[in-house]
């Protein structure tokens, strides 16, 4: 099935909610294109930043002659350079993302993640930002470098349509690999369930942060994974390794599972906070656009 239209992922209603929002980096991000994002490089731009006294070596063309005319002193007029956001979306396509609980209305975690990716890509490209896409499971499956062209959306949507959740996850290794590939500072958006060893995952994320990337982790949950609602005897078959089956009485394990889950989330949240990574948990039963909007609203407030 070829899904290549934006409307396949984003409804007009969703797009309307996002219209007035802009993704603004909390930090100054390098970018080629001038745009809404502040750049640490002062230069030619429309928006005035400040005057500073002239020192030898400054370009003569940057002298504000009008001020000279009034004050008889040489001042350099400085402008704030606007840059475009360069972002890479890392989409987890491992087997565990295929889970689809009854409350998710046939939207699997993978479907949810794909729509979220499309939504973000559309949003960013609409702002003249560059967006790249990486799909991965135990290894990187596809790498689309960031581009700022509007036509780039189609390429991404084609890739999203082709992606299938399969294989095991190995987040830490994949992230180490990607951290080496993404050289320029950018916004790294990870869309995953983050299942795996917390410590190694955090180490991998720290690697990104070390490369001075700004990071958002959208953690996708199915409601079933959060409240473990099973009652009758159930055979749990691993989506990643189908041979791994466990027949259990879920009622006996529920509390232990929830406790384990809580611990896992606390460790992850604490780790992300430590590394100043935004961790945004999302459940597949909540409208992803609303979740995204609320995230962006928070982001704007923090600016």
């Amino acid at each position: 099935m070829a899904i290549s239209q934006v409307s396949d992922y984003l409804t007009p209603h969703d797009l309307g909610k996002l219209a007035n929002l802009q993704v603004l980096a909390r930090k100054v991000v390098e970018g080629f294109c001038s745009g809404l994002h502040r750049s640490p490089h002062k230069g030619f731009s429309v928006e005035f930043k400040e005057h500073r006294p002239y020192v030898r070596g400054d370009e003569v063309r940057s002298i504000d002659w009008k001020v000279f005319g009034k004050t008889d002193r040489l001042y350099i007029r400085e402008h704030e350079q606007e840059t475009n956001l360069r972002s890479t979306i890392l989409l987890d396509t491992s087997g565990s993302m295929a889970y689809c609980g009854p409350r998710a209305k046939e939207v699997s975690k993978h479907d949810y993640a794909v729509r979220l990716t499309a939504c973000l890509a559309y949003l960013m490209l609409g702002q003249q930002d560059s967006v790249g896409l990486v799909t991965f499971d135990r290894e990187v499956r596809r790498y689309i470098p960031p581009r700022g062209r509007a036509s780039h959306l189609r390429a991404m949507l084609d890739e999203l349509a082709k992606s299938r959740p399969q294989f095991e996850t190995e987040l830490s290794e994949v992230f180490h690999e990607l951290a080496a590939k993404i050289h320029r500072r950018s916004l790294v958006i990870i869309i995953s369930d983050c299942f795996g060893e917390v410590d190694s995952l955090l180490k991998a994320l720290a690697r990104f942060r070390h490369a001075r990337h700004d990071m958002i982790v959208f953690q996708i949950w199915d409601p079933d994974e959060l409240d473990f609602p099973f009652r009758q005897w159930t055979q749990f078959q691993s989506l990643e390794t189908p041979a791994n089956r466990r027949l259990v009485d879920p009622a006996h394990l529920r509390h232990a599972y929830l406790e384990n889950l809580k611990r896992f989330r606390e460790q992850l949240t604490a780790g992300c906070r430590r590394h100043r990574i935004d961790l945004v948990p999302m459940t597949t039963d909540q409208p992803y656009a609303e979740a995204l909007a609320s995230y962006l609203a928070i982001r704007r407030r923090l600016k």
Binding site: S96, F195, E225, Q235
Partner: protein, 733 residues
């Protein structure tokens, strides 16, 4: 272990339901393709063994719930304790004390009435199919019905018919009787319930080892009964009783004075300074007397009376005091007033000279008023005949025949005397110088099968007042005829000098040697020596033969061989001997309750039925039976104390009084401690009322029926299941 609803025990198979559910759940699992396997696996890794163990525990608890519930519904009973549940039929014996102390009124109601009511409650509460026996324990334990019955209503009706006033209860005998009945009963649960006032006097007389024997008997019974004492007694201190009536003479004639000595006893601590004692004859008050009754002491009051008519009369003394036990304030006795006692004197050595004949002294001694020409009449009427005139005509009407120094008699006369004695007559044989010893031994002793109590051997003594004479041994006399001489004021038998006598002895070996079977003399008793001489020789011997009595005297009745007729004791001795002989063959008309009533009907044999009125007012018809020349009435059911009156066709009543000892008039009851100790000795429980008994009985049964505990167990298991479920679902990381 017994199950009352055994069929429900099969419900225990329901333990399989949780097991099946468990297995079914396991087999009908759903498969979920799960993503967050890493979260699940770490939980499983840590909890797998615990979860499995918890599942097994939970499964066991869940399986146990229906199983225990089914067991509970089956109502198991621990039969190891030898009890059965409430609705199982029981074999119950109720011992009901109807002794006269139960007539004490507590709060205006007799204890016996209360006991009957409470026993009725106990009987009514018995389960269907229960076997019931009631034994009234007053006097002698006696079942109300011949055998245990199953009909509760009938038993309650019978209980209401139980009358009080019976003699003192013997607790040990009552318990033994109850246990005897219980051992023959059928049901698996056995109860012995004893309703009594538990008096000191009853239980003090019961030796402890006898109680221990009863305890052992209870313990050795195949099905051990429960024993419960229902104590209805409250100690009462104040009580006055008339304990006894004593008469001055044994045989009483018309117009003779009779002195009646009544003993009254005050059991209480309060003295009665002017207690009134009323004296009644045949129900009519004759006199009354005031008497001071000190605290805890007895006093005697004397009444004198005279009867105008012969026959059976009833005298009664009543202490007119206000106490809570009126039953023992009266004491009655029957007095037979004889018209005459005919005595036939057969004189073996008659003489024309006064006091020279063999029976002259005797005749005077027996009829002193006649000889003294006094106005008073003698009770005894003598008739003297020579041996040749001893015939049926002469014997007819004589209560006593006296053979005085009779040499020998014809065979017909011996046969006549034999029939006379066997038929209830009395024969007094005096020795003398004329008797033919060989004939006496052969015809009258006849190797022990004849009339004489002993053989007549050689004469002893010289007949003269010398050293060879002997005297009567002054001993305590047991025989009623000589009883008065126990009191020296009435004379001393030892004063008389016996100069000559025959040695009397029993020769039984000769019979054995001869190889001859002795001729049966019917219901003959062994000879009994009434008095002995200092030499050791018997002087007066007695033997019962058939219905009659023979007394043999070793010496003569005149003054030839002894100075006895010259002594003042001769008259009372002969009088008492003759009257006792005349009355001893007549059965007593005052007897202990429970002994058979025997009446010898006057006149010729008769077969017409008589009416017998019991103390409770019931009338029965009794038929006389012929015994020898007389006819008699025998009636054995005289347990109830009181007056029995026999009325024949001549409408002259014959009174008989069944009496009880007055031990129960002391109304002190066993205190709680003593009663508890006694109960402990017997392994019994003590309660204060029938209701308490029922509660105790219920608690005994329920205490051993375990369904309540099982139900509690089921609830406990359900609660445990909840707790376990909650606990097992807790986090274990």
């Amino acid at each position: 272990m017994t199950l009352l609803n055994g069929i429900l025990a099969f419900g225990a198979a329901a333990f399989a339901i949780p097991l099946l559910i468990h297995l079914l759940n396991r087999s009908r699992f759903r498969t979920v393709e799960w993503g967050a396997m890493h979260l699940l696996e770490s939980v499983l890794r840590v909890n797998q063994r615990r979860v499995r163990l918890e599942q097994i525990i939970l499964l066991l608890v869940r399986c146990a719930i229906p199983a225990v519930l089914a067991f509970c519904l089956a109502r198991p009973v621990l039969t190891g304790w030898q009890t059965l549940p409430g609705d199982a039929p029981a074999s119950t014996v109720i011992l009901l004390d109807n002794s006269y102390s139960m007539d004490v009124a507590d709060n205006g109601r007799k204890r016996l009435a209360e006991a009957i009511d409470q026993a009725g409650q106990v009987v009514a509460a018995l389960a269907r199919g229960s076997e019931i026996a009631v034994v009234q324990t007053g006097g002698k334990p006696q079942p109300v019905l011949d055998r245990p019955i199953f009909d509760v209503k009938t038993m309650i009706q019978q209980l209401r018919l139980v009358r009080g006033g019976y003699g003192a209860a013997d607790p040990a005998e009552s318990l033994e009787a109850g246990l005897g009945i219980l051992s023959g009963m059928a049901n698996a649960r056995r109860d012995l319930v004893y309703f009594s006032d538990f008096q000191h006097s009853d239980w003090d007389a019961t030796p402890r080892d006898r109680l221990q024997r009863i305890r052992r008997r209870i313990e050795e019974m195949p099905i051990r009964p429960t024993v419960t004492f229902v104590d209805l007694g409250r100690s009462v201190e104040e009580n006055v009783s008339v304990d006894s009536l004593e008469f001055s003479t044994r045989a009483l004639g018309v117009d003779e004075d009779l002195q009646i000595r009544a003993t009254l006893r005050n059991h209480g601590p309060r003295a009665h300074d002017a207690a009134r004692a009323r004296f009644r004859i045949d129900g009519l008050e004759q006199s009354a007397s005031q008497i001071a009754l000190p605290a805890k002491a007895a006093a005697q009051v004397l009444f004198t009376c005279r009867f105008k008519t012969p026959g059976s009369h009833l005298v009664e003394v009543e202490a007119a005091v206000d106490d809570r036990l009126p039953t023992d304030n009266r004491y009655a006795a029957a007095v037979p007033v004889l018209e005459r006692i005919g005595v036939l004197l057969v004189d073996g050595a008659p003489s024309d000279q006064p006091l020279e004949g063999e029976t002259d002294f005797l005749s005077v001694a027996l009829t002193p008023y006649t000889f003294g020409r006094a106005k008073l009449s003698d009770l005894i009427e003598t008739k003297t005949v020579p041996p040749g005139e001893l015939n049926e005509k002469a014997v007819a009407g004589a209560r006593v025949v006296v053979l005085a120094n009779v040499p020998k008699l014809s065979d017909d006369q011996v046969g006549l005397l034999g029939r006379y004695v066997h038929g209830g007559g009395s024969l007094l044989v005096f020795s003398g110088n004329k008797i033919d010893i060989a004939w006496y031994n052969k015809a009258l002793y006849s190797d022990g099968s004849g009339l004489l109590p002993m053989t007549v051997d050689a004469a002893a003594g010289s007949g003269q007042a010398d050293a060879k004479s002997s005297r009567i041994v002054a001993q305590h006399f047991e025989h009623p005829a000589l009883e008065i001489f126990n009191d020296r004021e009435n004379g001393n038998l030892a004063d008389a000098e016996i100069r000559k006598w025959y040695r009397l002895s029993r020769v039984r070996q000769s019979v054995a040697e001869a190889g001859v079977t002795p001729v049966s003399t019917g219901a003959s008793s062994e000879p009994f020596v009434l008095a002995r001489l200092e030499t050791g020789d018997p002087l007066i011997v007695q033997r019962r033969i058939g219905e009659g009595l023979v007394v043999q005297v070793a010496t003569a009745c005149d003054a030839e061989w002894s100075n006895l007729p010259m002594r003042p004791i001769y008259l009372p001795l002969m009088q008492h001997l003759i009257t006792t002989m005349a009355s001893q063959v007549v059965p007593p008309c005052n007897f202990e309750a429970g002994r058979p009533l025997v009446a010898v009907l006057p006149g010729e044999s008769q077969a017409e039925p008589l009416a017998l009125t019991s103390p409770d007012g019931t009338r029965r018809t009794v038929r006389p039976v012929a015994r020898g020349t007389q006819s008699m009435v025998e009636y054995a059911r005289t347990l109830e104390p009181g007056v029995y009156t026999l009325v024949g066709s001549d409408a002259r009543p014959l009174h008989f009084v069944a009496r009880t000892p007055r031990a129960e008039s002391d109304l002190r009851m066993l205190d709680e401690k003593r009663l508890a100790s006694l109960a402990a000795d017997l392994g019994a429980d003590v309660v204060r009322s029938g209701r308490e008994y029922l509660e105790l009985d219920r608690s005994r049964r329920h205490g051993r029926e375990i369904w309540k505990y099982l139900l509690a167990g089921v609830l406990g298991l359900m609660f445990l299941e909840l707790v376990l479920q909650q606990r097992f679902a807790r986090v274990r990381t």
